[in-house]
Amino acid sequence: MAEQARDRLVLMLGILTYVERHGDTPFSDLAEHFGVSVDQVRADINALWLASEPGDSWSPIDFSADAYDSDVAALVRNDGVSQVRLSPREAVALVGALSTMGAAGALPEAGTQALDKLRTALSEPVTVIGDDHVAPELREALLSAISRYRQARLDYTDAQDRRTTRIVDPHRLVVIDGHAYLECFCRRAEDYRVLRLERMASVEVLDGAVEHPPTDSAGFSLTPAFSATVRVARAGRFALEDMPGVRIEDAEEDVIATFDVADAAWVAGRLLSVAPHLREIQPNRLVDALHRQARSVLDVQR
């Protein structure tokens, strides 16, 4: 397979460059550093050894045979090959992901340093727009609680504008769709929760120790109640593009979006902002939710 040949080439060049920069290195260290088996390292050293210049049997790369016998890579000679630079796609992948984490407010210190090094070496391969709106003291408090395995008390407002105080076992910060969230066990809900950092007004580190371990299955666990289909003029398309699991089709001057609804009131709130462009909504329970919400708005705004 093409991809495997490339991976192997990158690994071989990686081993060569690593040993050139760090000096004699046991096979076991190389295996651990690159996340491969010791046998793979040995095979790659052999392949590097066999590399040849055009037209003659001169080996541009030579390792010590004695060291090889004791499972150590010791470079005797390397005539001018080394790891190759990042491709445009690779550069965008790394810088894009790290910058997005930074803009969300969940990039560790080491990430900022790595990003600086990459940007200096690569010239900016992608533009990432967005400001970190997370207060530093809030992030520091969460990280301090996580690293010391302490509980935290949060002043939190959810997407439905309900304000609560929650005591949580904090686990880690995670970036989802460009926003920073805390993965935690919430004592109030007695379940795992993912809470958005921008919705926290304050964080207090408590003395109590974390009792619930992190889980692999955390994330958004909203159960869809029903599926909805909304026809909207193209100008209103943007309000539907972020709906969970949405599929959008063009239909003449309109688009038709189909998506899952977990909370009808929340979806109705989103639809209100593009109401002048709405053409058709199914099922009726979503129409009813929209009407209820619109009447409540008109009761106070005229």
Partner: protein
């Protein structure tokens, strides 16, 4: 002779093209680089033709693969030797600059690969981390309490990234908010990410002006058309609607007690009015404030400016006109 595997052949090709003082022609490459089959000696014309074809195919694939890997292969023409094309790699341009990453920095890059997991750039991110590990220090495994959930990125995004690097025009089907679905031909200038959403900014050939496209609205494949290096990317790229607006105004909103917490946090208290708390809130986009007030379903109303209040009324009135099916 022992069988030379593909990665070994690619390594020999890099060594050969990097060590040549001037250039290597295709004939040189076929006959002297280990891993390719030299033309059979004394073979029939038919066999020679077959061998030539099979070499051509193999070499074209290898060249493409090295370029995708980030290795710049230069084409060198030499007037003395007629029209036969030669190739070389400049070692300084091909080599990865030594970034000397710490073990912690390398661990963060591992999180960056999670960000693209399952998406088209996933393999690229993994390979990039492997490359950077070559000059990183070896240390104990660093566990960081950070993570990133996969972003959405399709083949279209990856093709656009390459087109920007190659300065090659592309064509795609696009569903526009203002002008409907249609074919667009653009010279892509830059890829942009905002809040996890991918955009491309480029020069729209048909509209003869710079345009911004949301990658998610591209239907089907992005097709490169024409030559590489076909245009110049301007120094200053207009971010258009993606830019953070400098034009910030203030709205006064009235909030019911225990509601509008997000607005309260961003705003400044401006007294009370009957059962309502008043706040002054800065905003760059009127639509965003209107949407926020609408979503609070009666928990908030706009006091001023009047046009925002009208927009709220207009939207709610229109919502009541949507009929039950």
């Amino acid at each position: 002779m022992a069988q030379v595997s593909k990665p070994e052949r690619l390594l020999n090709l890099i060594i050969g093209l990097s060590s040549t003082r001037h250039r290597l022609t295709r004939d040189h490459i076929r006959d002297t680089i280990e891993g390719y089959e030299p033309l059979p000696f004394g073979a029939s014309e038919e066999d020679v033709r077959k061998a030539e074809q099979s070499f051509e195919r193999m070499f074209e694939r290898d060249k493409k693969e090295l370029r995708e890997l980030g290795v710049p292969i230069e084409t060198v023409e030499d007037p003395v030797h007629g029209d036969e094309i030669g190739y070389r790699i400049r070692p300084a341009e091909a080599a990865m600059p030594a970034l000397d990453l710490t073990a912690a920095e390398l661990a963060v890059l591992g999180i960056a690969t999670d960000y693209w997991r399952g998406a088209v750039l996933g393999a690229d991110a993994t390979q990039a981390v492997m490359k950077l590990a070559s000059s990183a220090e070896h240390g104990p495994r660093v566990e960081l309490p950070f993570a990133a959930l996969p972003a959405v990125a399709g083949d279209a995004f990856a093709t656009l990234v390459e087109a920007v690097a190659d300065r090659q025009t592309v064509r795609f089907e696009y569903s526009s908010v203002s002008s409907g679905a249609g074919t667009r031909t653009i010279e892509p200038w830059r890829v942009v990410l905002r809040a996890g959403i991918a955009y491309v900014i480029g020069f729209d050939r048909d509209r003869e002006a710079p345009r911004t496209f949301r990658v998610q609205r591209i239907g089907g494949a992005v097709a490169p058309v024409g030559e590489t290096g076909a245009y110049t990317i301007p120094q200053e790229i207009p971010l258009g609607a993606l830019a953070e607006s400098d034009d910030v105004r203030t709205a006064r909103v009235a909030l019911r007690p225990e509601s509008g917490h997000a607005l309260r946090r961003r705003g400044t208290p401006a007294g009370v009015d009957g059962g309502w708390d008043l706040y002054d809130v800065a905003y760059a986009h009127a639509d965003a404030v209107v949407a926020e007030v609408l979503a609070l379903a009666g928990g908030a109303r706009i006091v001023s400016p009047a046009e925002l209040a009208q927009a709220v009324v207009k939207a709610a009135t229109a919502a009541l006109e949507v009929e039950r099916g």
